[in-house]
């Protein structure tokens, strides 16, 4: 309970409510469940009060006041339902609609449009305006991702404020003035931002829409599935919107601790990679140099027989885009069934890892007083939404230092610093630790680090021991360590199992590795879409894309989050089922029927994950 002086009590529509000083009338009313209509106001942006939709009556104030911009005061009496307020709401909507084309039947926003909804709820019902409407450009390409309809725009400034306050890029501006005002980029140049998809989500009308989703679906026809973005290790929460069993778009699903409600365009617009827009072939076995279609049991039996022949000289590579459940089984297949220690999920570099790499949770960046981004833009490129968190932190007074060298990072942070964070990509992990150690001796406060790993489940792959030298839970493998991928061509490996779970985090073979693949007795490729590796494979096992399966993913900060099946692909075996069938063909006897049952065993092997189990539903579990 805060001190009484920090609290303000006011009345909204006759009901008393106590809120912290500085709260806006809009938010105080929201606390009571009283909905005041808005267009320009946005909870993550400073108020501008340009749309006038939220006008309400405040006793002793002569005119109606914008609820989105007026802070509460002690004893304030607010009325949101009077005839005068209703008359103004009708008036504002009537003005907003004067030049609005009302082309809702062909507008992508129709059905989820605040202007449409609020016109229905608060509007005048009919227009009295029978003059010619003002005409502006329609379907203006703002970039290769966004199309702008200038007639639909109601000039709420949300998108321009996003580029100013949220991303800091200031790409969009209000050009010209008065009735001629339009939204645009400088000199009509294509927008470059990687956060443009967010503009379409905050636009309260159909002015800014995604080219990818253009005329794809009506919102009420969409099936919505909560999931996690497959793009990078950030772990942004998404919603898979699908229609007729096809992905229509990815939308944000606000998780204040992770994405703060935003997505980057790499993630948001990545869905065509996961679209099953055609059949991707059945399981197949190479016979006389050609891949021949077979059934799953035949392909599984062939794979198991070949792996068994290789035994401990088999190696396994699993994508950091696979789920924890799949990775756990993959790891068991090699360590337990084949007794092979040669496991990896990495590409070329050999990056070490340990649990301290997740010492700084994403949301805690805001609570630091100094943050060093070692590598600058390369860290942002690896996890773009991180930039929005850093920009927000900077606006709230956190000193963010983007440096290339350890020395510069050390010099940037003063000795008085109390809470310091270090961010770096996995490639610069060693430097990040050096910097962290040097900072620990320099500053009086704490220093934590967060390493941006590769792939949406790169952290899970490390946690679960898809590494040659560490078992599940970073268990040290005294004397039983395998060889890393980079050394496989010279390590006497006879069979290679590639689980290429995601088109965004592929095996990515080098020329030398492809030559090596050609020389191997056995190459087994488990993948979603046909890939270059098929050409080298002796067994091809088609699996599912991430929207087609369920399970958990562990983000770079160690947050275990659930993905759910949004697209039905029942005719394709689930990837964990393929892995289990291969192991069982070698006598493993695994009994799993669902991914949840795998998770239960996984949590026993890696106790940190037990806290994330659905039953407890807390700590690392980010599912909401």
């Amino acid at each position: 309970m805060a001190v009484a002086t920090d609290q303000v009590t006011l009345q909204v529509d006759g009901v008393s409510v106590t809120v912290p000083k500085g709260t806006l009338i809009l938010d105080a009313a929201k606390k009571l469940g009283i909905d005041i209509p808005i267009f320009c106001s946005h909870p993550k942006m400073e108020p501008v009060a340009v749309c006038r939709m939220c006008l309400i009556e405040v006793e002793k104030m002569p005119k109606l006041q914008p609820a989105c911009a007026i802070p509460v005061a002690e004893g304030m009496v607010v009325r949101t339902l009077t005839d005068k307020v209703k008359q103004y709401q009708q008036g504002v909507l009537e003005f907003l609609l004067i030049n609005h084309p009302l082309d809702c039947p062909i507008c992508d926003k129709g059905g989820e449009c605040p202007l449409q909804d609020q016109t229905f709820q608060y509007g005048p019902g009919a227009s009295r305006y029978d003059f010619q409407k003002a005409h502006f450009d329609k379907a203006v390409p703002l970039s290769d991702k966004i199309v702008l309809d200038r007639e639909r725009c109601i000039l709420c400034w949300r998108c321009t404020r996003f580029t100013e306050e949220i991303s800091g890029e200031r790409e969009l501006a209000l050009i010209k003035r008065g009735v001629h005002t339009i939204i645009g980029t400088f000199n009509d140049e294509p927008a470059q931002s990687v956060y443009q998809g967010n503009w379409t989500e905050i636009c309260p009308v159909g002015a800014l829409t995604s080219r990818q989703y253009r005329f794809i679906s009506r919102p009420w026809d969409l099936d919505r599935t909560p999931s996690v973005c497959p793009g990078c290790a950030m772990g942004c929460n998404i919603q898979i919107d699908s229609r007729h069993n096809k992905i229509g778009r990815f939308q944000s699903r606000e998780n204040l601790e992770v994405d703060d409600g935003w997505l980057c365009d790499q993630g948001r617009y990545s869905f065509p990679y996961f679209q099953r827009d055609q059949e991707f072939g059945s399981p197949s076995i190479r016979r006389d140099g050609q891949l021949a279609a077979v059934s799953y049991p035949e392909a599984v039996a062939e794979a198991a027989a070949r792996l068994q022949r290789a035994g401990s000289s088999a190696a396994g590579w699993a994508s950091p885009g696979a789920t924890n459940e799949e990775l756990f089984l993959f790891q068991r297949l090699f360590r337990e069934t084949l007794k092979s220690p040669h496991l990896d999920h990495r590409q070329q570099g050999i990056h070490e890892t340990d649990p301290e790499d997740i010492g700084l949770p994403i949301a805690d960046i805001e609570r630091c007083d100094h943050v060093v981004v070692l590598g600058g833009q390369e860290v942002i490129d690896a996890a773009p939404v991180l930039h929005l968190r850093l920009h927000k932190s900077q606006r709230h007074g956190v000193a963010v230092h983007r440096v290339d060298e350890v020395k510069a990072g050390l010099a940037a942070v003063p000795a008085e610093a109390t809470v310091v964070g270090v961010l770096a990509t996995a490639a610069r992990r060693a430097d990040a630790i050096t910097l962290q150690n040097q900072l620990v001796s320099k500053v009086k406060g704490s220093v934590r680090r967060l390493i941006v790993v590769r792939g949406p489940n790169g952290r899970g792959a490390k946690d679960l021991g898809i590494l040659p030298h560490l078992g599940p839970g970073y268990a040290v493998l005294n004397g039983r360590a395998g060889r890393p991928r980079a050394e496989w061509p010279k390590a006497g490996i006879r069979a290679l199992y590639i689980y290429d779970a995601s088109p965004l985090q592929e095996f990515g073979a080098t020329e030398a590795e492809l030559d090596w693949l050609r020389s191997l007795d056995t190459v087994i490729v488990q993948r979603f879409k046909p890939s270059v590796l098929d050409e080298y494979a002796h067994v091809v096992l088609p699996g599912r894309a991430f929207p087609e399966k369920d399970g958990t993913m562990t983000s770079m900060e160690g947050r275990v989050q659930r993905i759910a099946t949004g697209i039905d692909a029942a005719h394709v075996w689930d990837d964990w089922r393929i892995l289990q069938a291969v192991a069982n063909a070698m006598g493993a006897g695994w009994p799993y029927r669902t991914s949840e049952s795998i998770f239960a065993d996984l949590a026993k092997a890696v106790p940190a994950y037990a806290a994330a189990a659905p039953a407890q539903g807390r700590v690392l579990w980010g599912e909401r």
Binding site: E169, E171, A173, K176
Partner: protein, 199 residues
């Protein structure tokens, strides 16, 4: 195309005069317009670079104001006020006369590139001398067809006005020697004045 060293220095000088570089956008844009003749997108980009501001903000500012030109215009800018006081004193008829005399319509430039004629301006605050027009940076008041003829004749041969950006508010305005020397109310009724600094 890039701006001359002199213009760049002027812009940098404006940037130093204000606590916020944003305040220097207007005078910096004037400097561009005086050098190039209008506000080019390259010019806006350079202003943004020199002031350390996003280019979109510079365009937002320049497009807000009607006195920044967005395309090349004549050597001289003739803008006639047709607001209420001037209109009552026959400005609209006089503007039609100007159009006929120059053989161009509102917003166009004479074929010799000497004069751009416009009536798209709001009251210039010289109602006492209505009808009036602004020639480059000077007011011409108490206009008659004869006086308009004389002005246009003069402009046909006169070179473009020298770059004379309005002084930013931080510096107290000092009248130019020409303005000082000019009689307050010359016999012909013309009263040249320096244009106000604000847009």
């Amino acid at each position: 195309m890039s701006l001359s060293q002199a213009t760049v220095e002027k812009i940098q000088d404006y940037a130093r005069r204000y606590p916020s570089a944003q305040s220097a956008i207007l005078p910096a844009l004037w400097a561009v317009q005086h050098e190039v003749g209008y506000v080019t997108s390259d010019g806006m980009r350079e202003v943004a670079q020199h002031l350390g501001l996003p280019a979109s903000l510079v365009e937002a500012t320049s497009s807000f104001y009607s006195m920044y030109l967005t395309r090349p215009e004549g050597r001289h800018d003739a803008v006639m006020c047709v607001n209420v006081a001037c209109a009552l004193r026959g400005a609209e008829e006089l503007f039609a006369y100007c159009e006929q005399r120059l053989g161009i319509r509102d917003g166009q430039t004479t074929s010799d590139g000497a004069i751009t004629l416009r009536s798209t301006i709001e009251c210039l605050g010289a109602c006492g001398g209505a009808p009036m027009m602004q020639i480059d940076h000077r007011f011409e008041e108490d206009l008659t067809p004869e006086r308009v003829n004389a002005i246009f004749e003069r402009l046909r041969t006169e070179p473009a006005p020298s770059p004379e950006p309005p002084r930013p508010a931080a510096v107290p305005p000092t009248p130019t020697p020409a303005a000082k020397a000019a009689p307050k109310r010359p016999a012909g009724g013309s009263r040249p004045r320096e244009k106000k600094a604000d847009t």
